[in-house]
Amino acid sequence: MSQPIPTSAADWNSFFYIAITIAMVALAIVIGAMIYFVVKYREQKGQPKFVPDFTPKKSTAKDSVIFALISVIILASLVTASYTLVPNARFEPSDPKILVIDVTAFQWDWRFGYPNGVTTLGNVTLPGNTTIMFNVTSADVMHNFYLVQFRVSTEAVPGRYNVIWVTTPVATGNEVYTYNIYCKELCGVGHTFMDAVMTIVSPAAYEKWLASQMPSNSTATGG
């Protein structure tokens, strides 16, 4: 069964592919020019001895102006892109209903806290098509909460709460989708296997699951 791609990832992927295409074009131009010059102007056997041209060439004002203009255009485009393509995950969306999940990273697992006091270890179950606010912190050293398939991450810093918002993909009926959570900040010898699993189910299934967790778990939310 193929997993739905979260919207944050779809946006990210399209921006990435545009950027990398432009980058590859730029690379092709620069390296293409370099290879062309090397092939065309290389020394070949049988040529007469090359005498370098000693007359100094003065650069004209025209050259400088063209150079400055091109630089400004490139810089302006890059900066415009940077100011318009902000990471949506850092900004609170205008959704009236947001599910707040507390995430506490520690050596070497993840603890998730739900609004009603339920906590889980190493896995988080979430309703589909919902805006989730992850309230991320660490109990010891720096970790990094990496939602691979969402293309979103944030550092888990001890003494500090970092917040990111994601929208889960749609899940209906009995559909169950799993996504990976990795730690991508070296945090000790257990760093490698500090994975967690995010399970997305339909909102109804989520409510049922949450209710089933209540009696056996009365600890306060982590943090």
Binding site: V38, V79, R160, L186
Partner: protein, 572 residues
């Protein structure tokens, strides 16, 4: 083969820039072998899923030491060694401004590196926090082993070494230039060293400050980095305020070498030389203001991060201008495709690819995924292992006839380059497909899907590592060759190849029997176009009041003196 007559005492007590340059180069190559072996061990561990060649703890120590040694004990000292040898020749100075401090820089560098390597042999092992030594992982609570503290002290000693070098080089280049070597005429490699050392002067003190705070945490029980009142972020700020200029310190000498090599082997002056220097200064200046792009994911206020995204994008413009100036130098030129030239062409390729991936990382939204994954590892290896290493190897090959008066085997040099270049790309290009793979993990599962890219990378590593070793071997083997008869086999135009050394009449250092060497008429043009390009043709060329040849250069069989072949006549 006659044994080289070495005087240990001579090398232990020298303060001359040529010998110290050779010491730096040899030592940097030694550390490169050690750190390279660590890299090969890492690639072996990551070749297949769930491998058990290295344990998690051993792997984390390996990756930490590999990074620290390569950046701080290999790349910058290799450039410093070449600079030590070449810069005084390029500016017509007798030596650096403070020769004894120069020697002290070298010995503290060597011994600090020995300290770093010894950390893994202490009980509890060495540092395992990654080369970035993030807090609070770096505190006693989370990394108790004394090897970590020793590493911090080794880094402090290296900071002292580099600070002394930067004071030395900056003072030398300002005050020790020969008459006629104005700032406009300064060779481009020396310009690159000016900016490198100026950045080092400003970048290493914040690192030393952070290391001092960390040492006091580990020795005296202070709470700078264990406190939740900013501990982790405080280290991030101090470290990356150093860390970003540091990577420019690593790459600037490489750009200087490429400029020199292109000018000599394309037989053309650099395209828009003055603009090049201005762009260099712009990159150096801006590099002090981009450091928070390493901290995009730390949750700092977004408007602050936006500012740093802007400055990071801004720095890419003059940087690409530098690369374009180098490429445009090849236009309508006359290119000799020898080993140094090929290494520099390879370096241009890697710096463009590495730089472009860097521009993508300047966008926070993209960096939220890239940061901490193998995309970043690919990016910085392209720029550091690719550009810097290739360019510095080119520098060694280019100045080899100057240092040793011998020429290496050109065919072997070219073949080694091709193998190394292919191996390098096979090793690092797959990393750009691993944005899901976190850094510094010691293994991965089959289900993760990382296996094929990692296997390809490991095969590349097994090609690139030995090729780099062979590249050095080709140079060492050239010492068997006969001494060259000409001092300028490349017919290069830059000052270190073309200066005439004459005694100024009546100078106090002139010995009684004076000999003056003058270029024969056919070679009078040597250096002339360079002289005219960098200033007025009518200004007199530099002369010195007498450079001295050292004992080690006169002695039988020494590196820069007589050939090792008994039948050869002694060179000068």
């Amino acid at each position: 083969m006659k044994a080289i007559v070495f005087s240990i005492k001579e090398w232990l007590t020298t303060t001359h820039h040529k010998q110290i340059g050779i010491l730096y180069i040899v030592t940097a190559i030694f550390f490169m072998a050690v750190a390279g072996m660590l890299g090969e061990m890492m690639r072996t561990q990551l070749a297949v899923p769930m491998n058990n060649f290295l344990t998690a703890f051993d792997y984390e120590q390996t990756v930490t030491l590999h990074g620290l040694l390569m950046i701080l004990w290999v790349l910058t000292p290799l450039a410093a060694g070449i600079a030590n040898y070449v810069v005084p020749l390029q500016i017509g100075a007798k030596d650096l401004a403070f020769p004894r401090m120069n020697a002290t820089s070298y010995w503290t560098y060597l011994f600090s590196g020995v300290m770093m390597i010894s950390t893994v042999f202490l009980p509890g092992g060495g540092p395992d926090t990654g080369w970035t030594l993030y807090a609070p992982l770096n505190t006693i609570q989370f990394t108790p082993q004394p090897g970590m503290t020793l590493a911090v002290l080794g880094l402090l000693l290296l900071s002292l070494s580099i600070t002394m070098s930067s004071i030395n080089f900056l003072t030398t280049i300002v005050k020790n230039r020969a008459k006629g070597v104005t700032w406009r005429r300064l060779p481009l490699f020396t310009w690159s060293i000016v900016f490198t050392m100026a950045l080092a002067l400003f970048a290493f003190p914040p690192l030393a400050a952070g290391l001092l705070l960390l040492s006091s945490d580990r020795f005296l029980g202070t709470v700078f980095f264990s406190s939740t009142q900013g501990g982790g972020i405080l280290w991030d700020e101090l470290f990356w305020f150093f860390g970003h200029p540091e990577v420019y310190i690593v790459v600037f000498p490489a750009l200087g070498v490429i400029a020199e090599v292109f000018q000599t082997f394309a037989k053309k002056p650099l395209f828009s030389r003055n603009v090049f220097i201005i762009e260099f200064a712009a990159v150096a200046f801006l590099s002090m203001g981009v450091w928070m792009h390493h901290m995009f994911t730390t949750g700092v206020n977004y408007s602050v991060l936006q500012t740093f995204s802007f400055t990071t994008l801004a720095i890419s413009v003059p940087f690409e201008g530098l690369v374009l100036a180098l490429v445009l130098t090849l236009y309508k030129s006359h290119i000799t495709l020898n080993t140094p030239m090929l290494y520099c062409l390879g370096a241009i390729f890697t710096v463009t690819l590495g730089g472009i991936t860097g521009v993508l990382q300047a966008f926070p939204v993209l960096d939220y995924t890239f940061n901490g994954t193998y995309w970043i590892v690919g990016h910085f290896h392209y720029v550091m292992a690719g550009t810097t290493l290739f360019a510095l190897l080119a520098g060694l090959y280019y100045w080899w006839p100057k240092i040793t008066k011998r020429k290496y085997n050109e065919k072997f040099g070219v073949i080694t380059f091709l193998v190394a270049f292919v191996g390098f790309n096979v090793l690092y290009f797959p990393y750009f497909f691993l944005i899901a793979m976190p850094r510094r993990i010691f293994t991965y599962t089959v289900a993760s899907g990382f296996a094929s890219a990692n296997l390809v990378a490991t095969i590349g590593a097994y090609v690139f590592g030995p090729a780099a070793a062979v590249a050095v071997l080709v140079l060492i083997l050239s010492l068997r060759n006969p001494v060259l008869k000409e001092a300028n086999p490349w017919e290069a135009q830059e000052l270190e190849w073309t200066q005439n050394y004459q005694h100024l009449p009546g100078s106090p250092t002139a010995p009684s029997s004076t000999e003056v060497a003058v270029d024969p008429p056919a070679k009078k043009s040597a250096g002339q176009w360079y002289w005219c390009m960098t200033g007025s043709c009518k200004q007199p060329r530099p002369t010195l009041s007498g450079r001295k040849k050292l004992a080690f250069q006169r002695k039988q069989g020494s590196i820069s003196g007589k050939s090792l072949m008994p039948e050869e006549k002694s060179g000068e």
